[in-house]
Symmetry: C2
């Protein structure tokens, strides 16, 4: 039932840094000769390098090995309105990072071209000589196996565009493509708040709402690759019409877009003085203004966040009964609504789900924040490249 030795070995060096051969043999539970042979092979292939002597513990000092310092992964997080690119070393530490606004609706030619330009800039800036692997997240459903977006609702022109094939060809290295929420969940599992749990939900609240699912330690994507699409679960049979054509979807009632609409209405009607002031000053209001208003104690802003939290909490309570996760992580742009939102979600989930499921269920904010996506993309890129290091 185990993964191949080279994959486990490379992952261990990625996560632990310089390690002695003795520690590696212990951690991997393999005979020392087999480990040494495998290490020799990986040194020859350029994945592993010697890393000097370990600190003395009495007796002969052992030598350390580490991932080749020249390994470089490219992590790309395409959002609805942004491109984030990070170049990392083998340990997934950032070497260089770029973030800029972009409209995913410009289509694959424009966006992928910009990704190429950013990667070229990183090379010219000295961040890498060649890439070992690329991971990329896109804001829509993905066929993980084929490395292509499939009927992505907010990505016109991207349906079945061969993202993986394109990047592999352009950059001559393995590439992995996934949904943006899945990569955020992977990031949070690798370097954030979900490191110790195997079954958790990562809920991204941004322009829309989506959910990354980890079950039994693995990303669960579903047969069609669209598992976690919780934004279109109905929460109010008499609610507003959603962009998907149905009525009362969660994301029609609570999301960056929905909150922006409600904020505008509250500003115009004067229900909220905090929002009215911001509207008068800037000519527009959006979700971040609601967060600020709530921070100042504006009751309408607090109510808007609580209403949203109650709706999201109701959906999550059902998913807790169904999937029995060990943790719920709230991330994405609207996670900045912070503790008012969290308190409301918790209150609904703890009240509505059965005690056996919620007995020990933390509902927490993402630790990695805006870096969750690129972190997860780098993890997937390294997993993929390491697997192919045969």
């Amino acid at each position: 039932m185990r993964e191949p030795l080279h994959l486990r070995l490379l992952r261990l060096l990625r996560d632990l840094g310089p390690t002695s051969r003795a520690e590696l043999a212990d951690a991997l539970a393999v005979p020392r000769p087999r480990l040494l042979a495998e290490l020799e092979r990986l040194v020859a292939a350029g994945y592993v390098a010697e890393a000097g002597l370990a600190a003395s513990r009495g007796g002969r000092r052992s030598t350390l090995v580490e991932l080749n310092p020249d390994l470089r992964f490219a992590a790309v997080d395409l959002g609805a309105t942004s491109i984030d690119v990070e170049i990392t070393n083998g340990r997934l530490e950032p070497v260089v990072a770029y973030a800029e606004p972009a409209d995913i609706r410009s289509g694959p030619k424009v966006i992928m071209n910009r990704v190429d330009e950013l990667l070229a800039k990183a090379r010219i800036d000295g961040a890498y000589q060649r890439l070992t692997g690329i991971g990329i997240g896109v804001p829509g459903p993905v066929s993980f196996r084929d490395g292509i977006p499939v009927s992505p609702p907010i990505m016109p022109g991207w349906d079945r565009f061969p993202v993986r094939e394109y990047l592999t060809r352009e950059h001559g290295c393995p590439c992995v493509v996934d949904n943006d929420v899945n990569i955020m969940a992977v990031g949070e599992k690798h370097g954030g708040v979900a490191q110790a749990v195997n079954d958790f939900l990562f809920v991204k609240i941004g322009t829309g709402i989506g959910c990354g699912i980890h079950l039994s330690g693995e990303v669960y994507r579903g047969p069609a690759g669209c598992a976690g699409d919780i934004g279109h679960i109905q929460v109010d049979g008499h609610g507003p019409v959603c962009s998907c054509g149905n009525v009362g979807c969660l994301e029609a009632l609570f999301s960056g877009a929905a909150l922006g609409r409600e904020a505008l209405a509250a500003a115009r009607s004067g229900t909220s003085s905090a929002l009215a002031e911001r509207f008068a000053a800037a000519g527009s209001v959006a979700a971040p203004d609601v967060a600020e208003g709530a921070g100042e104690g504006d009751v309408t802003c607090i109510r808007l966040i609580r209403d949203g939290g109650r709706r999201l909490g109701g959906v999550l309570a059902g998913l807790v009964s169904f999937a029995n996760p060990s943790m719920i992580v709230i991330g994405g742009g609207l996670a900045q609504l912070g503790h008012i939102l969290l308190a409301e979600i918790r209150s609904v989930v703890y009240r509505r789900s059965l005690p056996l499921a919620t007995g020990n269920l933390p509902v927490v904010l993402s630790e990695l924040g805006p870096r969750a996506g690129v972190t997860g993309a780098a993890v997937l890129a390294s997993d993929q490249a390491f697997e192919q290091a045969t």
Copy 2:
């Protein structure tokens, strides 16, 4: 990533029956000498036996092997109000079966004692000499690892009763304990409508409502073992109070118990002439009367089923968006409400979930009906016993 050879080999003989060594070597993709050694070991241990010559295909006729004809599994399905016991041979074909009413609330002493009596009766009737393994399902959450029920709401006195330890000690063979809905899902996957799918939901509508979850080919139980507890998902914030203390739970609005209450009200008020007649004749009405009434075209009965299907469909639509299954199977006592129910569930699921998730999503009735539970219990019993056949 593979399971041990002996487990794969024994499963293959269970599912295929008498097979030639050549076919086994092909199907298992192992070198012939390794297969022959393993077979020899399993023959000596009493799991495998010679089964004569294969039909001639020209040339020398090869000899067949099969599971030892003396292997016997006991499959037990404890419901809220019933005990089903089946003794099967190694191929999971029933040798003898008993079914009788019982009240799970009588507690573990009374119920387990009755299970023992039924198993003793089967032995006296000549169904077995010794048992190779036991599988048992109980109507509540189970710690699968520990083989015990955990805080089961409708099983007073059963909390942490050591079911597995008890049966293992009494009958001297491996035993596996699981939730009743999980075993039904396993049964349907082994011998029913879900044989070809790896990701599906088995929805049991009985006294309450529960859901067995298969993801990536495995039963998903969740960290606390209570995944699939969908009966307490809220469907109406202003609905009736549920036995769990919350309001508007799915099972408070649609389940055997809820439908019985509604049928009684319709009979007493005379809204339904079909139900009123039955009530006058028998002094009571319950869910099966609604099914019969609907079959005769009684509009109130049809409306009751449709209302229930709409509510269940709404919950399932959300779960389809979340989990993206390849199939939904409807089973349990109320599956007899049949095609009116199915049509309503389908209509809601197909309308409310996104096209990518429902593009190819059959919503079907259980094929095994009341035998789904014991079938699944026998599968788990044989898996467990085969795994220990070392």
